[in-house]
């Protein structure tokens, strides 16, 4: 089998099952690809990875091959390698969350998602780059330098999971894990031409996911096809007794739903177009790709209705109160006393714990993190709690009600995933509000805990860069995402005559600037 890195995870799994290749071959091919195109932030490479574990991945691949030879593969994806966002704890592998304050930290335990990947036999290629503590929409806030968009190395790959999306888009990994607090799986998916899924809140364990905002965070798949996401979702999802907010219910049949959707039939499916997620602020090329997707769904038999979610306009404001509030509390543990990077203050002979803490945090946290700690501390402080955090929680309730009303009229809701295609590196770095607007369409789902998927919708006419269409479903109805997503994908691939990523430019080797 040739061109191993160009295949989807499902194809690789089939080839492994048929004995046409081995996990060692597949893993080595991806490690070679990483060595070829990833480079570093300084060299202008994709820089999707913060840490590559070639030795570990190959050992896991050998074990997978042995299992298969013995006739006992551990799962449908046994032997298919994967990349993991650096926000998930990996035993024996560095976990930095893109921050200097955790530089060199090696957790003594695995996140449940990681444990499930290992149990299912997926070799872990390494840890992917991200905005520091998942704060950002461009992966420019990583303390280790930005990741670049494989479609155009001068552009951002989305954030905060830019590393995971870029690794998949650059064919460095067939699969990746991301986390989505306000769109950090879906938005990078949209701007890199990949598929990203935010499962129902509680559908995938958060144990071992270094919390940004606990009530919003959700880990999920980043892949090149809808079917691959479904396969991965079934590996990592399901109840976990270590996470009290994990849903104690079996997952709906996701892979079946994706296969059913791939037949291209959407008869009887009611698709709701959200009036508030479109129009002003959305790039025309993004909107026209979205309209095209809706038309394709109608062609596939879906019934399209317009729905209104009037409180979505307040979602961004509520999000930017709740997120920093929770984050400010979560980040308090990084005091340089027990793990992570410790910085001694200048000129103090015998510094106190407080002085060490201050110096370490000053050096260890980036500007965006400091900004949100201050915001969150303020929003929670006595006298302001009701005005800010309390009020934001009320908005959250209203948004949930909007969803409930909309799902009365429609089985799924659709919108563009992100308002624009990938912007240039540095373009919005000095304008946090402009940066925050990128998650406009994705945030409501996190506030309400409902699942969402982003599927590539094509290239915007004005810049030739990928755009995405978002499909949202009610909580626990993740299977609908896969059915509708797969049907749309089938129609689009048919229209394009092949996968969208085939149109991406070839990357120069060694990550050199073109």
């Amino acid at each position: 089998m040739s061109g191993l890195t160009r295949h989807t995870a499902a194809e690789l799994a089939d080839a492994l099952a048929a004995g046409e290749t081995t996990s060692v071959e597949i893993t080595r091919a991806h490690l070679d690809r990483i060595a070829e195109v990833d480079g570093t932030a300084a060299s202008g490479g994709v820089h999707a990875f913060l840490h590559v574990d070639a030795e570990g991945a190959l050992a896991q691949a050998r074990a997978a091959d042995e299992r298969r030879a013995a006739g006992s593969p551990a799962s449908a994806l046994d032997g298919v390698p994967i990349a993991v966002k650096d926000v998930l704890a990996t035993e024996g592998l560095p976990t930095t969350c893109g921050s200097r304050i955790l530089e060199g930290w090696i957790p003594p335990y695995d996140a449940t998602v990681v444990a499930r990947l290992r149990r299912a036999g997926l070799p872990i290629l390494g840890k992917t780059n991200m905005d520091e503590f998942a704060m950002g929409s461009s992966t420019e806030h990583s303390a280790y330098g930005p990741t670049r968009n494989p479609w155009d190395l001068d552009r951002i790959p989305g954030g905060s999971g830019g590393g995971s999306a870029a690794a998949v888009a650059a064919f460095e990994a067939p699969l990746a894990i991301g986390t989505d607090t306000g769109g950090s799986i879906r938005q990078p998916g949209a701007v890199t031409g990949t598929v990203g899924v935010k499962p129902t809140y509680g559908g995938v364990s958060r144990y071992g996911l270094v919390a940004l905002a606990n009530s919003l965070d959700q880990a999920g798949p980043v892949t090149r096809t809808v079917l691959d996401s479904a396969l991965l979702h079934e590996v990592i999802g399901g109840h976990d007794p270590l996470d009290s907010t994990s849903i104690d219910q079996p997952l709906p049949p996701l892979v079946d739903a994706a296969r059913r959707g791939a037949t291209g039939d959407l008869t009887g499916v009611r698709v709701g177009v959200v009036r508030e997620l479109g129009g002003e602020g959305y790039q025309p090329g993004v909107l026209s790709r979205f309209q095209e997707s809706v038309d394709l769904m109608v062609k596939a038999g879906a019934e399209v209705v317009e729905v209104s979610c009037p409180h979505f306009v307040h979602a961004l404001a509520a999000y930017y109160l709740i997120l920093p509030a929770e984050a400010s509390s979560n980040l308090a543990k990084f005091d340089a006393m027990r793990y992570g990077r410790r910085v001694l203050p200048d000129g103090a002979d015998n510094p106190s714990a407080e002085q060490v803490m201050r110096a370490s945090r000053d050096a260890g946290f980036g500007d965006e993190v400091k900004r949100r700690i201050i915001l969150g501390t303020y929003a929670l402080s006595s006298g302001y709690y009701d005005a800010y955090y309390g009020q934001a929680q009320k908005v959250r309730t209203l948004i949930s009600r909007d969803f409930a009303a909309a799902f009365e009229k429609a089985d799924v809701l659709v919108s563009p995933t992100a308002p624009t295609t990938a912007f240039k590196l540095g373009e919005k770095l000095d304008d946090p509000i402009a940066m925050y607007l990128n998650d406009l369409a994705t945030i409501p789902a996190n506030l309400a805990g409902v699942p969402g998927i982003s599927v590539p919708s094509g290239l915007a006419d004005e810049d030739g860069l990928p755009a995405g269409v978002q499909v949202l479903a009610p909580a626990l109805a993740d299977d609908r995402l896969y059915r509708v997503g797969a049907a749309l994908e089938a129609a689009l691939v048919d229209k394009w005559g092949g996968p969208l990523l085939d149109r991406a430019p070839a990357l120069a080797t060694n990550g050199a600037v073109r």
């Binding site: 998930l88 957790p107 958060r206 144990y207 009530s215 996470d243 009290s244 907010t245 509390s329 501390t377």
Partner: protein, 502 residues
């Protein structure tokens, strides 16, 4: 540190009304911690009972210990509280090196139990019990912190060379029981405080939810006190004396703070709202952290934990597991045992009620059980500065010692040596008797020789007995006892003396 200027306690009440408030932390005796599966054994090697969750490692998450919730509900019910139908944990954000997450997972505005009361029996001047109702504001669940050890000459954080932290205790479940302001206690405020904590401890013991050892910190009391001008009906500024760790200290701390507050107010100065440290050795409090800027803990609901919603069926079922009310129990036991009021009060005061009850349950007479626990064992507990229940002697062992006395194997004097052996960990009462060779000798061979020696050494006394003055035998018995180190069977010795001298 120097003592503050004080107003004699007797004079405080002339001008002021005290208001008390007690916050008692009870460390639960669950097998595992509040939010993880780590064991909770006391005294383990530092940092051996820890995991990612109780160490607060990045990514780790809490899961509520249902057993701890059960204990909290039972405590709440025993304190006549309402049990919340739905409540949540909150994060209390503040920095402290022994707190792994730099926030404590606690309950804030939604405690599991609230609005209760406890009727506290306080002795009046005549020595009779009087009932004083203490209203309970709330009982809530939280986790304990780790323990800091400051290494250096001072033993305190200031001036320490370095500090070590043991996280074994971090995450052990705590219930914090908070009273409403206790007013109207007047001069009895110190007694009310002591009696409340004592009775609360008895209740906790009866519930079996905690080791209830004040000396090991499994019950810790914070004593709030304020004074208001007499008859004003207002509340003054309070101070909070932290971690008072014995019943006697609770009483003394209240007494001290009343005298100190009065002195400050008499001078026209104002009381600072602050925490105070209690010094057991000198019996005074000193200023801790000032709380004048109200601390901002930035509470918000803990997003990693689902709400706790105990079903009414469960609560009802737990109500059925409540033990007898300790006050009612006391009255019942007094009647059953035939103790006088004074005997009963001493028993309760020594914290020996349950020990005596269990000893009696093992088949020993109430008076004999009382004799050991309030005599010999209370004396030893006092020497060690602990409660009798903290001694390493069990009620079953005490009962066995008394049985050995009843069977004539040892006498009361030898029994004291048996207790020495028990406290030194030498084994069971029978093993101690065996190992130390304490059994009474009634063998005629050994006794006969000693009697012969005594007669030979005291010819005058022997003559008197031969002359029919049998009462003189006591002196010879004494000599035999001395030779046999108290282990002779006194009755048989007497018979042998009389036989030999008849």
């Amino acid at each position: 540190m120097t003592a503050d200027v004080l107003v004699p306690f007797e004079q405080v009440l002339e001008k002021f009304d005290p208001a008390l408030g007690l916050e008692v932390h009870v460390e639960l005796n669950t097998a595992s911690k509040m939010f993880c599966g780590c064991p909770t054994e006391f005294g383990a090697e530092p940092n051996t009972q820890v995991c990612p969750t109780c160490l607060g490692l990045p990514g780790a998450m809490p899961v509520v210990n249902v057993k701890a919730v059960e204990s909290a509900i039972r405590i709440g019910l025993a304190l006549n509280c309402d049990i919340a139908e739905w409540c949540r944990f909150a994060r209390k954000n503040y920095f402290y090196p022994d707190m792994p997450k730099n926030f404590q997972t606690s309950q804030y505005d939604e405690p599991i139990a609230f609005d209760g009361f406890m009727d506290v029996t306080v002795p009046n001047e005549a020595g009779e019990g009087e009932t004083f109702r203490v209203e309970i504001e709330r009982a809530h669940m939280e986790e304990d912190t780790g323990k800091s050890l400051h290494v250096g000459t001072s033993g305190r954080i200031h001036g320490a060379d370095y500090s070590l932290v043991d996280y074994n205790r971090a995450g052990i479940p705590l219930i914090e029981i908070v009273t409403k302001p206790i007013r109207g206690a007047g001069e009895r405020a110190p007694d009310v405080a002591r009696a409340y904590v004592a009775q609360l401890r008895d209740l906790i013991v009866a519930l079996g939810v905690s080791d209830a050892r004040m000396d090991q910190g499994s019950i810790r009391a914070d004593v709030n006190l304020s004074l208001a001008p007499k008859g004003s009906g207002t509340l003054g500024t309070r101070t909070e004396t932290k971690n008072v760790n014995s019943l006697r200290s609770v009483e003394r701390a209240v007494r001290y703070e009343m005298s100190r507050h009065a002195a400050v107010l008499e001078e026209g100065r104002t009381i600072l709202q602050e925490t105070r440290h209690w010094h057991e050795d000198t019996g005074i409090t000193t200023s801790g952290r000032e709380k004048s800027d109200a601390e901002d803990y930035r509470y918000f609901p803990e997003p990693d934990l689902v709400p706790v919603a105990p079903s009414r069926e469960w609560v009802q079922q737990l109500r059925g597991t409540l033990p007898e009310n300790p006050t009612a129990r006391r009255a019942r036991l007094q009647a059953e045992w035939g103790f006088s009021d004074l005997e009963m009060r001493d028993t309760v005061g020594a914290g020996a009620l349950s020990s005596i009850e269990q000893t009696i349950a093992a088949g020993i007479s109430p008076q004999a059980a009382r004799k050991w626990w309030l005599g010999e064992l209370a004396r030893r507990a006092n020497e060690q500065g602990v409660e009798v229940s903290a001694l390493s002697v069990t009620p079953l062992e005490v009962a066995r010692v008394q049985t050995l006395v009843d069977e004539g194997k040892i006498n009361d004097k030898l029994a004291r040596q048996v207790f020495d052996g028990l406290l030194a960990g030498e084994g069971t009462p029978d093993e101690v008797v065996e190992a130390r060779g304490l059994a009474i000798v009634s063998d005629d061979g050994a006794l006969g020789a000693a009697v012969d020696n005594a007669i030979a050494a005291n010819p005058d006394v022997a003559d008197k007995i031969r002359d029919g003055k049998v009462a003189a035998a006591g002196a010879l018995i004494g000599a035999v006892m001395k030779e046999m180190r108290g282990q002779a069977d006194a009755g048989r010795v007497r018979e042998l003396i009389l036989e030999k001298l008849s």
